[in-house]
């Protein structure tokens, strides 16, 4: 009965152990995002509290606690310079929970810690929504609910607690799904969302020629593309990202704040209408096929260089539709400012300058110059490599005349430098090339490993023309993924994954599931909700209809739940009509006068009722007499059924309040 009170004080109680487990699980969800010292410190605190802490060592002074909390806040602020960001907030939350462990004694403290763990699940959801992480979130939620069960019922074992929590969550899931589908979403945010303070791997505003190799060993998806109508041939699958103009000899950079309007173009060839679903990249760039005609979204700027630059970084999956062209012609000549910027050269690289001069002298037109430059790459004995030799200070000279091996970034950088040296405006374009066709989902998957860099050169009539020097050095790159050419770029497990047909098939299935998850769940918004209502048969649905549907489902669920609960202990229903009517009569009297003890017969009970409330006797006594007559008297089969019905009706009509009023009223008239 009081076994839990007698438990040894030395061992941490089950409630605290489970609260710690829930907190640890929540911490692990964020382990790779939070500062290592915060994670390690909290884990150490959990271990200390569970193993060696004695009750006497726990903190009790409010001042000490407040000071500790303040110093933790300071620490977090010093690290992040804000407390508002997701990572900073999560770090602070985790540290405060660790502090709470220092003084956790009672069940209430355990509840607080589990609450923090649940909030960590939410923070993890805000941070990342990949399908692969969903099971982790589910397990953590289960752990938290089981911890609740163990705090409330200390004697419950671990397995029963998990089973109980799992069953409750399963029962809750259909309702959760209905609420999720029907709760009307806001069209915008309630308050400004603080910017993220961390970056992931991906293309950015600058590039060192060797830097792209860092990306290609990453097998993560960047975006998925569905073509509506015509699909471009594989050698045209250039996905434009940041366009880089400024070169200091080592690094290429974007033009600062290029807010100019994109120059008008004449579009040639097939328009490619496609839908791109971006994975969160934390960057401002949206990716589309070669030359997008216009911006897909009011919040996205189509820059002078035909990049798509969003106002907010991509922190959650986004999807958009856009029309692109792979062949264009300039409608206007290049402005002098742009020409100046795109022919600027860094100091150094004397041999490249010499080569450029000789190329220019031997050719008459810009087209011929371009061809000669590409010819130099084709015949110069250049090779394609992910792990080229390190280049010296004159990087372009070093590549073109000494090492002669490099990656797409090296060739694009060297070729643009060569063209600029020869007086041709040119710049580097970074982005992705190709992609893997997923037959299950019917889309093209572009991974980080498809990262690429190429050049654009201004030719007098055509305007900006895409030139891929890498395609000259390694022509097969256009048709096959980079990883087919350079399998050593990948880590061993991923290489094995690609080599096994069965595994890569599985991977494609998984990716199709991820794509479905992102499209149907993560990007589920008001439009999807209204579409759902329309499919359910609501004509011209709006947010108000959603609200009604939401309320309807919620109340229906509650009603069914209440009904099912009552079902388990339904009043044992008397078998025949007479007994039912009698039970009803007894219930009425039990409420108003006194309950009938099970052993008391009808006439005794009637006597007891009349003794307690003489004013009711006149109405109640005859009913009991009739019952006794019907139940125990001589049977009269001919009229019995009607008599029972009459009795039941009389019981139904009996109103004790009215009877009492009637009795007192008549009493007054008599007096």
């Amino acid at each position: 009965m009081s076994a839990q009170n007698a438990a040894a004080p030395e061992r941490a109680p089950a409630a605290l152990v489970w609260a710690c487990a829930a907190l640890g699980g929540g911490l692990l969800l964020h382990a790779d995002r939070l500062p290592a010292w915060a994670v390690a410190g909290t884990l150490a605190m959990i271990l200390w509290r569970l193993t060696i802490a004695r009750p006497g060592q726990l903190l009790s002074g409010a001042t000490v606690r407040a000071l500790l909390a303040l110093s933790l806040v300071t620490l977090v602020f010093a690290r992040f310079h804000t407390l508002n960001g997701l990572t900073a907030g999560t770090t602070l939350l985790v540290l405060m929970a660790a502090l709470k462990l220092l003084e956790a004694r009672r069940a209430r403290d355990a509840y607080v810690i589990v609450g923090v763990a649940l909030f960590l699940v939410l923070a993890a959801c805000l941070d990342r929504q990949d399908l692969a992480r969903v099971p982790l979130y589910g397990v953590e939620a289960l752990l938290c609910c089981a911890a609740f069960a163990l705090i409330a019922t200390p004697g419950l074992g671990a397995l029963p607690a998990l089973r109980l929590a799992g069953r409750s969550l399963l029962v809750a899931f259909p309702l959760a799904l209905a609420l999720f589908l029907l709760f009307p979403r806001l069209p915008g945010a309630l308050w400004a969302i603080p910017p993220r303070d961390e970056a992931t791997t991906g293309l950015s505003e600058s590039m060192t020629p060797g830097g792209i190799t860092r990306l290609i060993s990453t097998y993560e998806p960047v975006f998925r593309v569905t073509f509506i109508g015509a699909r471009p041939p594989p050698e045209q699958l250039y996905w434009r990202g940041p366009v880089l103009h400024e070169f200091d000899g080592a690094t290429w950079r974007r033009r600062p704040a290029s807010l100019g309007q994109p120059a008008p173009l004449q579009y040639l060839g097939t328009p490619y209408h496609h839908r791109v679903a971006l994975e969160p990249s934390r960057e401002h760039f949206w990716f589309a096929l070669d030359t997008p005609a216009r911006s897909p979204d009011p919040a996205v700027l189509l820059s002078e260089d035909r990049e798509l630059v969003a106002g907010n970084p991509v922190n959650a999956p986004v999807s958009f539709e856009v029309v692109s062209y792979t062949h264009t012609q300039a409608a206007r000549p290049l402005e002098s400012g742009a020409r100046l910027a795109d022919t600027a050269l860094p100091p150094g690289n004397p041999r490249t300058l010499t080569l450029a001069r000789s190329l220019r002298e031997h050719t008459s037109t810009d087209e011929a110059l371009l061809r000669a430059g590409l010819e130099f790459l084709r015949t110069g004995g250049f090779s394609y490599s992910v792990t080229p030799e390190r280049l010296g200070p004159d990087a372009v000279d070093d590549l073109l005349f000494r090492t002669r091996e490099g990656f797409c970034g090296h060739y694009a950088s060297a070729f643009v430098t060569l063209m600029r040296a020869a007086g041709l405006p040119a710049h580097v374009v970074t982005g992705y090339l190709g992609g893997e066709w997923n037959p299950i989902g019917g889309y093209l998957l572009v991974r980080q490993s498809d990262a690429h860099a190429w050049a654009e050169v201004w030719l007098p009539v055509r305007g900006w023309t895409r030139v891929d020097p890498t395609a000259v050095v390694a022509p097969e790159r256009l048709h096959r993924g980079l990883l087919d050419l350079l399998p050593q770029a990948l880590s061993v497990p991923e290489r094995l994954l690609r080599q096994s047909r069965w595994l890569s098939g599985l991977l494609q299935r998984w990716d199709a599931a991820s794509a479905w998850w992102n499209a149907r769940v993560v990007r589920f918004d008001l439009d999807s909700q209204l579409g759902l209502l329309a499919r359910l048969g609501v004509r011209a649905p709006n947010a108000r209809d959603l609200g009604w549907a939401f309320m309807l489902v919620l109340s229906l669920w509650l009603a069914v739940g209440a009904w099912r609960l009552g079902d388990g202990v339904a009043r044992t229903r008397p078998p025949d009509a007479l007994a039912r009517a009698y039970a009803r009569l007894c219930r009425k009297l039990a409420r108003a006068v006194l309950p009938r003890p099970p052993q008391q017969g009808p006439l005794d009970f009637a006597a007891a009722v009349s003794a307690r409330r003489p004013d009711l006797a006149g109405d109640v006594l005859p009913l009991f007499e009739r019952y006794a007559q019907l139940r125990y008297g001589l049977p009269s089969p001919a009229t019995r059924r009607r008599d029972v019905e009459d009795f039941a009706r009389a019981v139904a009509r009996l109103s004790l309040k009215r009877a009492a009023r009637h009795a007192s009223g008549s009493g007054r008239t008599l007096a």
Binding site: Y111, L118, L126, L156, A176, R185, L186, G188, L565, V569
Partner: protein, 336 residues
């Protein structure tokens, strides 16, 4: 210290009266049905609701579907928890509640037997008297559980127990379902046993004693629990075969003295001290197997012995001078 304490107390009294009016008096056994169960979130539950509200705002603001899905899952979980908590108490039966008589100055107890008629297990039920600490117990499928609720007996007389609270926070501690069982229950508190005066001997003629005493050594008094050293010949084997505990047929050994304890003969000015002394004598005389009677102003209990007689004497002492004393004891005995 808490400025709302008087308000809360008044609210509690009012709600207790309201529940009493609403539910009426209970006749055991009672099955707890929906109409009489109350449920509210606990402090942890209120905290959980606040957490849900925060999560909901965050999910809505970030327009983050997964966060909203998690929030709704936990909301639905809380609703399920509410139904489970309600269901944990629903259908529980209160089979019996008794409060055996005790002496003043000790702690008495209310013995409560809970049961379940259906196949659902019920965990972590708690029962408490209005001011007492809760006692916890589990009920298996169709199981029974006996709980002892402590009830301090400070002064002699009748302790009336208005109601018994049954509650549960199982399974997740987010909600608390409770009900009050209003069953007439009284605990008789005998006077404190105290005093050191020698026992008086009844001054009646010896002959009368003979006739009263009858068969002397061989007179059968009753059954009592087996004690080490009892002769196996005296054990009531037939009763034992009927699954009773081991009982011994008690024969009067002496009946040497006839004693009459009279209130009026005591000289202590404090009435309570006199009653304590009388109680001491009654207990001692019964323990020695002697025959005794009791004379109080207005009450006379003839010479006799046995547990029933002892109770009658102690009850008379307990209720002596209290307004509704005598008829209550009578009613109690009729019930027994």
């Amino acid at each position: 210290m808490n400025p709302f304490a008087p308000l809360a107390r008044r609210l509690r009294t009012r709600s207790a009266a309201w529940m009493r009016r609403r539910q009426g008096e209970d006749v055991l056994p009672v099955t707890l049905e929906r109409r009489r169960l109350y449920i509210l979130p606990t402090r942890a539950g209120v905290g959980f609701a606040t957490l849900l509200a925060l999560m909901f705002l965050a999910g809505l603001n970030y327009a983050n579907s997964l966060a909203l899905l998690v929030t709704f899952l936990l909301t639905a979980f809380a609703l399920v928890a509410m139904q489970q908590c309600h269901g944990n108490l629903l259908g529980t039966q209160v089979l019996s509640a008794t409060a055996p008589a005790v002496f003043a100055g000790t702690t008495g107890r209310v013995l409560l037997t809970l049961g379940a008629a259906d196949a659902r297990p019920r965990l972590q039920l708690e029962a408490a008297l209005p001011q007492g600490p809760p006692q916890h117990g589990d009920l298996g499928p169709r199981g029974r559980q006996r709980l002892e609720l402590p009830l301090p007996a400070t002064a002699r007389g009748l302790v009336r127990i208005e109601r018994i609270r049954l509650a549960t926070v199982h399974p997740f501690g987010l909600f608390r379902a409770w009900t009050w069982v209003h069953t007439p229950l009284e605990m008789l508190v005998y006077p404190r046993v105290h005093g050191s005066l020698p026992m008086p001997i009844h001054s009646a003629p010896r002959a009368g004693q003979r006739s009263l005493c009858g068969a002397g050594d061989d007179e059968w008094v009753g059954l009592r629990a087996f004690r080490d050293g009892d002769s196996p010949r005296q054990v009531d084997w037939k009763a034992y075969a009927r699954e009773s505990p081991l009982l011994v047929k008690d024969y009067s050994s002496g009946g040497a003295e006839l004693r009459l304890f009279e209130y009026a003969r005591l000289t202590d000015p404090d009435g309570e001290a006199r009653l304590s002394q009388l109680a001491r004598w009654v207990v001692d005389a019964e323990a020695r197997g002697e025959r005794y009677g009791l004379v109080l102003p207005g009450t006379r209990i003839a010479i006799d012995r046995g547990p029933e007689h002892r109770h009658r004497c102690l009850a008379a002492l307990a209720l002596f001078g209290q307004s509704d004393g005598a008829d209550r004891v009578g009613a109690e005995r009729r019930r027994a």
